[in-house]
């Protein structure tokens, strides 16, 4: 479809960020905003919530169990409002977990699946979607309208936040990039893509509150874990482990920075 495959730098295809590059013609900006509004209105995202709900209730794995008894932090089986408190510390694993890592925990404990099997397809592609990304759409959708409220009260939560903050600004890799190389200054863009400053509430709020998201570029439901993974790819780093402590910490940093914003996702992004 495109003449040029995606490009170099990092993008969190942020929501409708309000930032104006100086050389950015106003009518162009207006038309792009119109495009973004129209794709959000015409988004099939609810389909993925529906598919995810089906998977949530589907009995599978060696224990032939569904995920319906999964404790996402508000007690076994409570889905409503759970997403906006994640990542959070879980006593049973003695670890801070984000939505994806928690789902993985439940797949292993409730369904008896191996980590290897459950993480075989953490990110979908056009040929085959990902169970994880459908589930994420369902769970996140059940928090629509609730303000993001991620706690740093537990020492492991505050440690995760601190680690995430340091990871965000750390320059390394073949191109000397950090997350902040692209998401560190107001009003910048990569190509036509506007870049929110994710280390500050004004940028983190609209972006974080609309992930996970349906990406129209590949017509896929995409999780926050995928978003971070693809940023690191474009930062020219080695690959972060799925649901690793580093990615959870980074999610923690972004989420806490977005605290109090009503959750509006799953979103729709270019």
């Amino acid at each position: 479809m495109h003449a040029y495959r995606c490009s170099a730098l990092v993008v969190v295809a942020a929501a409708l960020t309000i930032a104006t590059g100086p050389a950015f013609a106003q009518d162009e900006k207006r038309e792009i905003e119109k495009y973004q509004k129209m794709i959000a209105e015409g988004s099939p995202v609810e389909l993925f919530e529906l598919e995810g709900e089906g998977l949530w209730k589907k009995k599978q794995g060696p224990k032939n169990a569904s995920l319906e008894q999964c404790d996402l932090g508000l007690g076994a089986g409570v889905v409503k409002g759970a997403f906006v408190n994640l990542p959070r510390y879980f006593k049973d694993t003695d670890r801070v977990e984000d939505l994806e890592s928690r789902l993985l925990t439940c797949m292993m404990t409730l369904q008896g699946r191996s980590r290897e099997e459950a993480t075989k397809r953490t990110f979908g592609n056009a040929d085959k979607p990902s169970e994880m990304e459908y589930l994420v759409a369902f769970v996140a959708g059940e928090s629509r309208g609730s303000p993001i409220a991620i706690s740093t009260a537990h020492p492991k939560e505050s440690a995760a936040y601190e680690l995430g903050r340091k990871l965000f600004f750390y320059r390394s890799g073949a191109w000397d990039f950090s997350c902040a190389s692209c998401h560190g200054e107001e009003g910048k863009r990569i190509r036509m893509q506007e870049l929110p400053v994710l280390s500050l509430p004004a940028g983190a709020r609209p972006a974080y509150s609309t992930w996970p998201a349906y990406r129209v570029s590949n017509s896929q439901m995409k999780s926050m874990q995928w978003r971070l993974n693809d940023c690191y790819r474009q930062m020219r780093f080695p690959e972060p482990g799925f649901a690793s402590d580093a990615t959870i910490a980074l999610t923690m940093f972004l989420g806490v920075t977005a605290n109090d914003e009503p959750y509006r996702g799953p979103g729709t992004k270019r």
Binding site: Y4, S7, L9, T152, Y161, S172, K188, F237, P238
Partner: protein, 210 residues
């Protein structure tokens, strides 16, 4: 990390969490122990994939200083590092001006150096991701300054050619914590490719200067 640092961090955290209107700069100046922690976490939680090997986490002196000093190292250190980086540029013999048409393709392409890029495939310079160059290309980034009319404004002297080549090869030689990747030094672009991009920027016939 000592107690005072912890307290400062805690206060900063609280300030960020509490105050959306006047945020503090959350960027840390990495201490030696922070740098060790970052190294350990990246090596623990990341894995090599494709051409992106773990040696990408080996910080060189420039990356180290930029992390330690929030991109603003003390003047002496900055000077020393810049001198080192200048020395690392391999200027080719003879002509520095290549083919602007090839340079345009390189400027447009964002390929290269990621774990999904195949070894041996041609890399791009990703120039348009961050810079405006030709006024004909509407889709350009703004992370870097506009380079529209670059050659028209600066001329096409051998000094300018040398500066342009050097800046693309190793941006850190001119500004030690420049956000721009070191395109030659990192092995992203070849000598030939950089010459083509120099031509794209300086050749009077290039759309950049028309």
């Amino acid at each position: 990390m000592n107690k005072r640092n912890l307290l400062t961090l805690a206060l900063a955290t609280a300030a960020i969490a509490a105050c959306a209107t006047s945020p503090v700069d959350p960027r840390p100046a990495y201490s030696e122990s922070d740098l060790r922690q970052m190294d350990a976490v990246h090596r623990r939680d990341f894995h090599p994939r494709g051409i992106a090997k773990m040696d990408r986490f080996d910080l060189d002196r420039v990356q180290r200083a930029c992390n330690q000093y929030k991109d603003n190292p003390p003047e002496d250190l900055a000077k020393a590092l810049q001198a080192e980086q200048i020395g690392a540029i391999k200027f080719p013999q003879g002509e520095l001006l290549g083919d602007w048409k090839k340079g345009q393709k390189i400027a447009q392409s964002g390929r290269g150096m990621t774990w999904s890029d195949k070894p041996g495939s041609a890399n791009g310079g990703s120039c348009y991701n961050c810079h405006q160059l030709s006024p004909e290309e509407a889709s350009y980034g703004t992370l870097g300054p506009s380079l529209k009319g670059f050659g028209k404004l600066r001329g096409n002297t051998s000094e300018i050619q040398k500066y342009t080549y050097g800046k693309i090869y190793n941006s850190k030689a001119y500004s030690v914590c420049s956000p721009m990747p070191r395109m030659g030094y990192s092995g992203t672009l070849t000598e030939e490719q950089i010459k083509d991009v120099v031509a794209y920027l300086l050749d009077p016939a290039s759309p950049v200067n028309r």
